[in-house]
């Protein structure tokens, strides 16, 4: 049972780091631009497919295709911002939210037109999991796939880079300031237009990375980003809106909670929650959080 819990926690950390990468972007756009971006999941999808094309068509190694996915997602986000959101800057958050819903549908449909509606994978065949830690946690030890190790390392590197950016650069501090208090940022003379561009660059770049990781962990599908949007929103709210560090913590909590919910309990080894209902776990956490502590764990803005 302990081994099972640790195994699920490990899977939860993998899933959680993908959710966290998405949630950082949602949290920043929510804090800075003032709306819940429903197209964020589809930005992930676009990044995953752009990396897929570079990987398969140009026969480049995946580590080269990966930044292409990030850059692609950034380009998609900036294009959408230019085409839609920039014209609605003074509108209420609800108007922007609905327009982001439209943007989400557009991206998803384009992905379907270009790449088709079927499942695709970066690498055909099944990857063998590596066993380790048998002497520490007991038989049969823990399993992890090499791709999952790559995801964990990649996420750790990206999160560290974002941390350095937000903490030590002038633009990073300005982004946190604007997420804290957009009105005051304007009155202070912070260049809010540039902050918005950087918000998309960082948010969508991480979304593109998360999309590739998600495709690597499971498969590519036009709905992949849409389906993970709910856990990402849950992580954002859990961490506090406009709190990128909260989003990271929230992502890990949601990821681990989702995986642990499938724990099979003796004596009849029924899972705690039917795995088909995994996303409902995120939903339940989100609702509970909104009732108990709407500003999130890290006291973000209540919107």
């Amino acid at each position: 049972m302990l081994v099972d819990i640790l195994q699920l926690t490990l899977y939860g950390i993998v899933l959680g780091s993908i959710i966290a990468l998405g949630a950082i972007g949602v949290s920043l756009t929510f804090g800075i631009l003032g709306f819940a971006n429903f197209s964020h999941g589809d930005l992930m999808t676009s990044g995953a497919y752009i990396a897929f094309t570079v990987y398969t068509l140009l026969a480049l190694p995946l580590w080269l295709a990966f930044p292409a996915g990030m850059l692609g997602a950034m380009a998609v986000a900036l294009a959408i911002d230019w085409a839609f959101y920039s014209r609605l800057r003074r509108s209420k958050g609800l108007i922007l939210l609905i327009s982001s819903f439209g943007a989400a549908l557009i991206i998803r449909s384009l992905v379907q037109i270009v790449w088709g509606p079927d499942n695709q994978v970066y690498e055909p065949g099944i990857q063998m999991a590596v066993r380790f830690g048998e002497d520490i946690v007991g038989s049969p030890g823990l399993r992890i796939k090499p791709d999952q190790v790559r995801i964990l390392i990649g996420a750790a590197v990206l999160v560290s880079a974002v941390h350095v950016f937000l903490r030590y650069t002038r633009m990073g501090k300005a982004m946190r300031a604007m997420a804290d208090n957009p009105d005051l940022a304007r009155l202070t003379g912070i260049d809010t237009k540039r902050v918005i561009v950087w918000t998309w660059v960082i948010g969508a770049g991480l979304a593109g990375a998360a999309g590739v990781f998600l495709g690597l962990d499971t498969r590519l599908h036009p709905d992949m980003g849409w389906f993970i949007l709910l856990p990402i929103f849950a992580a954002t709210i859990l961490g506090g809106i406009g709190r990128p560090y909260g989003a990271i913590a929230g992502g890990l909590v949601i990821g681990i909670a989702q995986e642990l919910s499938t724990l099979q309990i003796p004596p009849d080894y029924e899972p705690l929650v039917n795995p088909a209902y995994k996303p409902a776990v995120a939903f339940a956490i989100m609702v509970l959080m909104l009732i108990l502590r709407p500003t999130g764990l890290f006291s973000g803005r209540s919107t």
């Binding site: 002038r170 946190r176 804290d180 009105d183 009155l187 202070t188 003379g189 912070i190 006291s299």
Partner: protein
Amino acid sequence: MALLEVDAVTGGYGEADILHDVSLRVEEGEVVAIVGPNGAGKSTAMKAVFGLVTIRQGQIRFRGEDVTGLSPDRVVRRGISYVPQTDNIFPSLSVDENLDMGAFLRRDGIAAQKAHVYDLFPPLQAKRRQPAGTLSGGQRQMVAMGRALMLEPGLLLLDEPTAGLSPKFMDQIFDIVRTVHASGVGILMVEQNAKQALALADRGYVLAMGRNRYEDRGQALLQNSEVAEMFLGG
């Protein structure tokens, strides 16, 4: 030439005008207080200077240049800083980072001005790395003013700096205003605590119903029996 001249300004938010022919001026290095009953348009008059109000008539000049209708981010570049009444800090940023943001527009070194701000507000020194949102009300007000001072403005606009503070903190805030003033910055402040504000101000304006009612030296307004009876609660 006055530092700031508001010349017969009429305006408001949207359709209805709140200010009618309001005029005021601040000389270089002066503290000027705007007092008056609730709804007199005190804060609106100040916001008009900072480009937050639609001005239909009249003109606002800063150091002789027309700044009427400029957006806040342009006004701030001209050398006017504004401290809103509420939400005037970045709560999750450290005290030091709040000051950094105040200097966002500056491309030259900011270390000297930062040291100057910490000299003005010694209690902040020890809390440099602490999130500003965790400080006491009085210290937050110091952060807010410190942020506004980072651009070395010629004029500081303070919107009800003591609103919602306990009497103990109020005295502290008026001391801070004196300190900032002593460093040579012109100050235009809106205050509910009219007596204390006028006692500290070089000059004061009494607004009522969005119009100028009285204008005099701060002390003189305090001693004006009419003003006292009508606006200062006897």
